[in-house]
Symmetry: C2
Subunit: 326 residues, 2 copies
């Protein structure tokens, strides 16, 4: 039996209703209810992925579900918000049967437990084309505590959580490169690509410390470019400060041209933020308390654009990074 | 130039950013901010439509946009909520160029003004398949004042706003039937199908009066069935009480078998609710004050299922309506 033959009501009742939180009213009503604490704002973000464009049709459905959810949680974290609920709309081709849906819902269920969130509503329709999955995530933050992209100021340091380039290398491994890497290292990098770890714990703690924040999705240099553009400032990033995972380091050691390319790599869903120099100790303390590496990689200056520099302060041309600001 | 060549940023900046409200932060940040008044709940609903499934690829893009928005506003109204904002995600094929997008955005802009709402976020991606459009609407209601589907009680009267069956007949006209109808009547019915009028004004006033409410999308009998199922009651509907528009009446006069079919017709986006007998005067007063017909069409009983009866109280078989409860 194909998903199409299941019908909308059965699809919702069987696979999605078990994921619904109290505000979702069992997915049985016209709309969901979202409570908002006094003094809080809700924070809302959405992402859409298409089979064959953003993921491969043969990818494990659990991973597709979890990545879709996690990239949205990463956007909430990048505002400093705590995740609460999500709304899911799916347009599915008939050939995706109940087994695919069950595994997709299983992936959502696991991450709901992990991140303490629930499904409150959505829609489920059929399409003659490839699957299109849209997720709207809702979080909360104390009013006025959100961290926007527009607050960077000259003199700020630029920080990034975790490590950069893993997802890019994971995708390369899936495509057949780096065959002499150990299985453990390969799996680590592939996993970073397939199921990113959004920094939902770290994000809210940066409220009051960070001047501007974004998550690394388009690429570190491009995303820093978004901050610079909305903040009307420039940034300089030191290539040798770029935090690499041990697995990425092994690959970079054997390929000196790779590092600049990793500075432009996306899909890591790390938090990239700017903070005044006075916040340095507080950031270091946070890093140690949460056991999450947070590395200073550059600084904000007056001007326009993002410049990557080597250990001697020389600008590295965009030919070596693949990132073009204009 | 096709939409695909425009690129995501240009598509968002050119067509969608002008629609953004203050909470949308110019669509330039990771997420949007939604304020929530003290003592209020937010109400959230979503719908997805697919080109070739829910609308025709050649339909005017303004109408596609407005219908997508309006069916969601209808869901909010059916909870008694007032609309505030919406989130839009689009997966578009490359052949939909800037002209289609400009007209689509124009339709949204018109309805934003009309309903006093704004765009706060979303996503815009490309797809090799048909266009898939998802809209999440956000409204507000005083805490505890929402009208659910589950509150119907035996003894309640069943009411419906406006007229029923227009959208069904409008679609038939688009497909070539009723060619001898006047142009004025044809256009009226077609318009009811293409751009429904959600009862956003009426909905909030029914909070405190209605025990249960839903909007007529699947069909009057089916939607009343949803109320009965979640409320664990039965309903009886009098066929001769069904409110028809003058245009629908002309067609029904020439086709005695049509009336039962209209009782099962959907897509009218009228409000269907149950209320205690004591609320009758208040409902009549509301109808007259807002200048919206609200007609009593039946009542709630103990039991299971929805029964359509003729003027003599005889049950009309589902063969004549096309609606099957089980």
């Amino acid at each position: 039996m194909a998903a199409d033959e299941l019908g909308e009501f059965e699809r919702i009742g069987r696979f999605f209703a078990p994921l619904a939180g109290p505000g979702g009213l069992g997915l049985l009503d016209d709309a969901a209810l979202v409570d908002c604490k006094a003094g809080c704002c809700l924070v809302v973000t959405a992402d859409t992925i298409v089979a064959g464009v953003h993921y491969l049709p043969e990818d494990p459905p659990e991973f597709v579900a979890r990545k879709l959810l996690r990239v949205n949680l990463s956007d909430l974290a990048a505002m400093g918000a705590r995740p609460l609920h999500y709304v899911l709309t799916t347009a599915l081709p008939a050939e995706l049967g109940p087994e695919w849906l069950a595994r997709f819902a299983q992936g959502l269920a696991e991450d709901q437990r992990r991140f303490g969130i629930d499904l409150i509503g959505g829609d489920s329709v059929s399409t003659p084309g490839p699957a299109v999955l849209s997720l709207t995530a809702i979080g909360e933050i104390a009013a006025g505590r959100e961290i926007r992209r527009s607050g960077a100021r000259p003199g700020d340091l630029v920080w990034v959580s975790g490590t950069i380039g893993d997802a890019f290398l994971g995708l390369r491994i899936l495509r057949g490169t780096y065959r002499d890497l150990t299985a453990e290292r390969s799996n680590y990098l592939i996993r970073r690509f397939q199921v990113p770890d959004p920094r939902t714990e770290l994000g809210p703690f940066l409220s009051g410390l960070a001047h501007a924040m974004i998550d690394v999705s388009d690429g570190l240099l491009a995303d820093l470019g978004h901050i610079c553009e909305t903040s009307q400032v420039a940034a300089v990033v030191a290539l040798d400060q770029l935090p690499l995972s041990p697995a990425a380091q092994v690959i970079a050691d054997g390929d000196p041209g790779l590092r600049p390319r990793l500075a432009a790599a996306g899909d890591d869903y790390e938090l990239l933020f700017t903070a005044p120099v006075e916040a340095t100790e507080a950031v270091a303390e946070l890093s140690s308390r949460l056991n999450i590496p947070i590395t200073p990689i550059g600084k904000i200056e007056p001007g326009v654009g993002v410049r990557l520099v080597d250990a001697d302060g020389r600008t590295i041309s965009s030919e070596h990074t693949g990132y073009r600001h204009f």
